[in-house]
């Protein structure tokens, strides 16, 4: 059905929700908690439900393409939006533009949903830009704080350059392949002769560089630690999960739908990104003393692990890579948001995000300490937590795609990573606190943290539904790409 626009409902409703919240905020009393975050939560849940009931569709000559893939990724984006919004309720009292805060947050989610449902590089780029623009503003939201302003400027400049590079890459690809639609691109790649492959390689490299910036894959990671440290922590949580998830969603579509037959062009680049991210992320994290910076570098390393699976996309049927990347992003969203929110809860009381502020946390707040332990162990890939299942699945996908050495490297550097995770655990559980006062957490913030921690345990304890969700996501991409292949013949 070419004219069935009901698939657009989630995106339209989300936009309406954002505008409604901005308007509503005008009429609410300032400097008092207004629980707008809970409104976003309810709205987000309803939209999630609608999203799961809207049909597959290919609109406007394939500009957007709603499949099980976009639906599954929308789930991650909306769930992250929800947890971050719930946590943000705790900060509402201190915010001067909370309507705009939530509005921008929702708009950036709209951008991410556009990425996941894009049928070509054009919509992909639009989605990335929409998300980035909102996030530039949000990072600088605490505008009177020097670090926040610095972070925003830094992210804006580097982000703008990355966008320009990516746009240049897209224009080269358009020049070589004659289209920015994934299905036509893959047809053209199959017909390409060797003389043009240098240009193709340049186009692919530039596009991947742009996406690499989004997902903070080394060597495009430089901005991440500074920005993560300076941004308001709730935004850091969102930036480090939903925005990266969007980047990986874009990467998977670009490679599997558009470039799958151009193996020689993208595989070495992805492998390089994987090796650099895993090594740089894990080694530099070893010497970090600030929790937010540490999580930033750990996030870079985590992207490296996902790259191992993506490098395995070259296997004839890349569905295992897509499914494993999806499962990892899902659990990573919960775990990492949980980690940043705990950092936020501690910073609210101690005023510091240094690792040393966690000293003796188990005496000051046993639930926070337990949550932190779960988050750290999950990031370190320790069973029976989510990170364990996720990491094994990623490495299995990488191995399936023939990347044996990458898997071995990944397994070894994840042991290195345990050192810094355990060093944080050491502060939390083994060191004695300098100050004995108990840490109290705002109820909304603790609700958000609980959701993240419970989800982290649950995904690890019973992985079956999540793995099947990942395979469902992969099936969407698979169906589109096999349609492309069928047309090639």
């Amino acid at each position: 059905m070419p004219n069935d626009y009901s698939s657009l409902h989630p995106i339209i409703l989300l936009t309406v929700l954002a505008l409604f919240i901005i308007l509503l905020d005008i009429f609410l009393p300032k400097k008092k908690p207004a629980f707008l975050g809970w409104l976003v939560t309810i709205g987000g849940l309803i939209i999630l439900l609608i999203d799961w009931h809207s049909p597959d569709a290919k609109l406007w000559d394939g500009l957007v393409n709603f499949t099980s893939y976009s639906r599954a990724f929308d789930t991650i984006f909306l769930l992250t939006l929800i947890t971050v919004s719930i946590a943000s309720v705790a900060e509402e009292g201190a915010m001067s533009f909370r309507g705009e805060y939530y509005g921008l947050l929702i708009f950036s989610t709209v951008g991410l949903m556009l990425i996941a449902s894009s049928g070509g590089l054009l919509m992909l780029y639009l989605g990335i830009e929409l998300t980035s623009m909102c996030l530039f503003t949000l990072v600088g939201f605490a505008k009177r704080e020097k670090r926040s302003a610095e972070a925003a400027l830094k992210m804006f400049i580097i982000g703008a350059i990355a966008s320009a590079v990516m746009l240049y890459g897209i224009s080269i690809l358009y020049g070589v392949l004659g289209s920015t639609q994934f299905d036509r691109m893959s047809l053209a790649v199959a017909r390409l002769d060797a003389a043009q492959s240098m240009a193709l390689w340049l186009g692919v490299a530039f596009t991947l560089a742009g996406i690499g910036f989004k997902i903070t894959a080394a060597p495009f990671h430089m901005w991440a630690p500074d920005v993560y440290e300076g941004a308001p922590t709730t935004i850091t949580a969102y930036l480090s999960t939903a925005s990266k998830t969007g980047g990986i969603a874009a990467l998977l579509q670009f490679i599997l739908l558009g470039m799958h037959s151009a193996l020689l062009e993208w595989t070495p680049i992805i492998m390089l990104l994987a090796v650099l991210s895993m090594i740089v992320g894990n080694l530099v994290a070893l010497v970090q003393t600030n929790l937010k910076r540490l999580l930033a570098y750990s996030g870079i390393a985590q992207m490296g692990y996902i790259m191992v699976a993506i490098a395995g996309l070259q296997a004839t049927n890349g569905s295992m890579s897509v499914a494993s990347a999806y499962v990892y992003l899902l659990l990573y969203s919960f775990t990492n948001v949980g980690g940043f929110l705990i950092a936020q809860a501690i910073a609210d009381v101690t005023g510091s995000t240094e690792v040393s502020a966690l000293k003796g946390l188990h005496r000051r707040s046993a639930p926070l300490a337990f949550g932190m332990l779960i988050v750290l162990f999950s990031l370190g890939g320790i069973p029976p937590l989510a990170g364990f299942v996720g990491k094994i699945y990623l490495f299995a996908a990488g191995w399936n795609g023939g990347q044996h050495l990458l898997v071995l490297l990944g397994a070894i550097v994840s042991v290195v990573s345990l050192y810094y995770y355990l060093m944080v655990a050491l502060q939390v559980y083994i060191k004695d606190p300098e100050e004995k006062s108990r840490i109290t957490v705002h109820s909304s913030l603790s609700a958000a943290i609980s959701i993240c921690v419970v989800a982290t345990i649950l995904i690890g304890a019973y992985p079956r539904p999540w793995v099947e969700l990942g395979q469902y996501a992969a099936s969407g991409l698979q169906r589109v790409s096999s349609m492309n292949i069928a047309r090639t013949k």
């Binding site: 094994i392 699945y393 898997v407 397994a411 079956r464």
Partner: protein
């Protein structure tokens, strides 16, 4: 047919561990009894397993399978053969003893016992798992709590802080599991349909060069935990820093996980690889035995001596495995059991001595037997078992290991037997310097003997050493690998199968000469019924 008994054994400590978290920390007695229930309930279950296991049918029994992630070939599949049953029994004994030994633990008791029980359910899980995904999962659960157990409740020694020891132990063991993970993925993907089930893998026919590579990964990966030289260095520091119950469990049971992994995955699934590297494994085991014993001789800290003796004894376990014949492997599993009990007893006694005298420095001790005769007696029994005196379980176990090795690489057997002499030297010297000699009244004004709950732990363990030493037959018959899963035994047929005459000569001649008067008839009769060379080579012929 579905059996819940193994799931019960795995889940009981885990449940207790979670229940403990809900009990207020003030109710210390309740905390102790809940954890005793969590550990103690597994003991009757393990004994029931031991009694109910059908020795005629052999193979894997009490199996239970639940699909977990069917699309990836992961299922919760548990089942035990004789080896697993014996090791589960060992674990149940040690954890029950460990709970008794930490009865007087006062600092953050609740969390301590909770972590200890979590660790134990991981150990049970590894011994019972037939699915590699779950085996790896349980393996990590068994290894990880150690970090907090040593880091929070350990004691710093002169050489090392407890944080250092905890970190070193955790990182080395996890580096090992990185190798294991890669090996498991390789095993998973090199058979169709992809499955983590070990039963399926046993029929996968992996190629010889693949087997060699992966065997090395498995050997290194599990070898870290088994304490093989030169990647054993976490063990002395870790054991010396750990609190009593943790050292008991770690040296007594956890190190066996490493050897078990090599036996089950390395040799069970990759027999060609194991054959190819048998000499290397044997040679490193020999180094382990001698190096561990020599290092133990040079120590003055009591816990370091025991820790190095564990390294040495794990060498005997690996020596038995490297023989790749049923006698050696039976001996190896026997040694795992015997060493588990023995080292548990040792660490419990050392813990008591330290708790009462506040020192572990041997030169400042002496004449303790006057004040604590009970502990002195029991620790001496442990010491005698340690160098394999007849009438203790150590004798049967070590005899079988060396005998098995003799049939394969006589040179290595000869060299490694020297280790027994070295062991006798450091054990006897240690006992002499602690318990005999002049008692320094002014240094130790009050030095009581063990208390009720402590008695339960150490006498129980010491009695077991003697009972098993006098009557090893049920245990040996249970382990007897020649009756176990058939493809495995067929593939471990030794290169040189001694003919009837030859092996009779060995039994009557060389081994007799080496062991001399220590040849203990009761014991020999006990196991000879079941694994005399004739009997087993007949079995092997039948299998071929």
């Amino acid at each position: 047919m579905t059996h819940w008994i193994l799931t019960f054994v795995i889940l009981t400590p885990l449940t207790a561990s979670l229940v403990l978290l809900l009990i207020p920390r003030q109710l210390r007695t309740l905390v102790r009894f809940v954890s005793l229930a969590g550990a103690g309930l597994t003991l009757p279950a393990a004994i029931w397993l031991f009694a109910a296991y059908n020795r005629q049918v052999a193979g894997f029994q009490f199996e239970q399978t639940l699909p977990w992630v069917p699309s990836l070939g992961i299922s919760y599949h548990v089942g035990v053969d004789g080896t697993s049953v014996v090791l589960i029994l060992l674990t149940a004994i040690i954890i029950t003893g460990g709970i008794f030994a930490s009865w007087t633990q006062k600092v953050r008791t609740k969390e301590f016992l909770s972590l200890l029980l979590l660790l134990v359910s991981g150990v049970f899980g590894v011994f019972a798992s037939r699915d590699l995904f779950f085996l790896f999962l349980f393996y990590e659960i068994a290894v990880l709590p150690m970090y907090l157990l040593i880091g929070v409740w350990g004691t710093s020694t002169k050489q090392r802080t407890k944080e250092y020891s905890a970190m070193k132990l955790t990182l080395m063991l996890l580096a090992g599991s990185a190798f294991i993970l890669v090996a498991i993925l390789a095993l998973y993907f090199n058979q169709t349909p992809h499955s983590f089930d070990m039963g399926a893998m046993a029929h996968a026919h992996y190629g010889p060069s693949f087997q060699k590579t992966i065997f090395l990964l498995v050997y290194i990966g599990f070898g870290v935990l088994a304490g093989i030289w030169p990647i054993h260095t976490w063990s002395p520091d870790g054991h010396a820093s750990a609190p009593t119950a943790v050292s008991m469990l770690h040296a007594g049971v956890l190190m066996k996980l490493g050897a078990y992994g090599i036996l089950r995955i390395g040799m069970g699934l990759l027999p060609d690889g194991a054959q190819h590297f048998a000499f290397l494994v044997g040679a490193i085991a020999t180094i382990n035995i001698l190096y561990g014993a020599l290092s133990a001789m040079g120590q003055t800290d009591l816990k370091y001596i025991i820790a190095y003796s564990s390294v040495s004894h794990m060498g005997v376990v690996m020596l038995g495995l490297a023989s790749l014949n049923p006698i050696g492997i039976n001996g190896s599993v026997m040694q795992m059991f015997s060493h588990g009990i023995m080292t548990g007893l040792f660490f419990a006694c050392v813990g008591l001595i330290y708790e009462k005298s506040h020192t572990r420095n041997i030169p400042s001790m002496g004449g303790f037997a006057k004040k604590m005769p009970g502990i002195a007696l029991l620790m001496t029994i442990g010491g005698l078992a340690s160098f394999g005196l007849p009438a203790t379980s150590g004798f049967i176990a070590e005899f079988l290991c060396f005998y098995g090795m003799w049939m394969r690489y006589p040179v290595l057997a000869l060299i490694s037997v020297v280790g027994i002499v070295l062991t006798a030297i450091y054990v006897l010297r240690m006992i002499q310097r602690i318990f005999l000699g002049q008692f320094k009244e002014e240094m130790y004004p009050s030095l009581p003997d063990a208390k009720t709950t402590e008695w339960v732990a150490i006498t129980g363990l010491a009695l077991l050493l003697i009972v098993v030493g006098l009557y090893p037959e049920p245990l040996v018959r249970m382990i007897d690998v020649s009756k176990q899963a058939q493809p495995f035994v067929a593939s471990i047929t030794p290169v040189k199968t001694p003919s009837t005459n030859e092996s009779a000569k060995i039994t009557n001649g060389n081994i007799h000469a080496q062991y001399g008067t220590r040849y203990f008839l009761t014991a020999i009769n006990g196991y000879a019924m079941h694994i005399n060379p004739n009997g087993w080579s007949n079995d092997a012929k039948r299998l071929q």
